[in-house]
Symmetry: C2
Subunit: 136 residues, 2 copies
DNA sequence: CTTGACCCTCCAGTGACTGGAACCCCTATC
DNA sequence: GATAGGGGTTCCAGTCACTGGAGGGTCAAG
């Protein structure tokens, strides 16, 4: 398989696959003409990486997961630890974004959005609410 | 005011303030010794930027918002447009993260997390569920 | 005079790609 | 044999919003 075939198979852009090779996540063979040649295992790994990335795992997490996947003597606890840690980070991020969303929603709601310059959004951004207000 | 004072006032790291100058968001004066000298307006702008960034606006959005803030003839509609657009992006991001969270939650839940190698997380990541399964 | 807290500039690195230039390879067609 | 096209290759630069660090100048206190 050439890179185009694997790209089609996995849905990963060829650029991304080359990048994954560069950082050592896959090691495809080379043809006499210099083209990368991917075996089924390589394609499978790349699909694994694509799905891990789609779940938001970092490249380093992916590297770890791939290593665990290939290790028949792994403990599922090691996998679970990585996933749980990542899950917590996602939950934190969601909470942050929800806080932003709530504030923005309120600001957008109260803004007339007309030709006049009066704007509660800008007013809020320019206002110094003290520590107390920010905490409470 | 020197950069340290403004940093303390706004909560922005000095590095960040220098960076904001570099990209033209603020233009503090300079003392004879080369030190940046910030007036109240500069500090106010930086606080504005800090709050905008805390709401997740991109630097370019911040630039736009700051320009609108300084334009007495602005239309609040322009501000509202920027904020609404950003709000939608945040909502999209939240939805994405929630989907990841739900999947991860399920995977973590079903993983024993013990010394054995059997792991539903790795199994899921290695499995090719087709288009239908992914859509349905 | 030294110490320590400031301040300065410039350069490199982050994460995970992405775009583009400049080039090679292979097949098909005229 | 020339040409067109659709592959593939490398390498470099850019993204975003900082952040860290080296190497140095400035200033007030003791």
């Amino acid at each position: 398989m050439n890179i185009g075939d694997v790209s089609h198979l996995t849905g990963l852009p060829a650029k991304t696959i080359r990048y994954y090779e560069e950082i050592g996540l896959v090691r495809p063979a080379r043809d006499a003409n210099g083209y990368r040649v991917f075996c089924d295992t390589d394609a499978h790994k790349l699909a694994f990486l694509g799905r891990s990335r789609a779940l938001g795992f970092s490249i380093e997490d992916c590297r770890t997961l791939l290593a665990l996947y290939e290790d028949d003597d792994r403990a599922s606890a090691d996998v679970k630890r990585v996933a749980t840690e990542h899950l917590h980070q996602i939950e934190d991020k969601i909470a942050q974004l929800q806080a932003m969303r709530d504030t923005l929603n309120e600001l957008v709601r109260t803004c007339a959005g007309d030709n006049r310059p009066d704007c509660p959004i800008l007013k809020d951004l320019s206002q110094d609410r003290g520590e107390a207000a920010r905490k409470g």
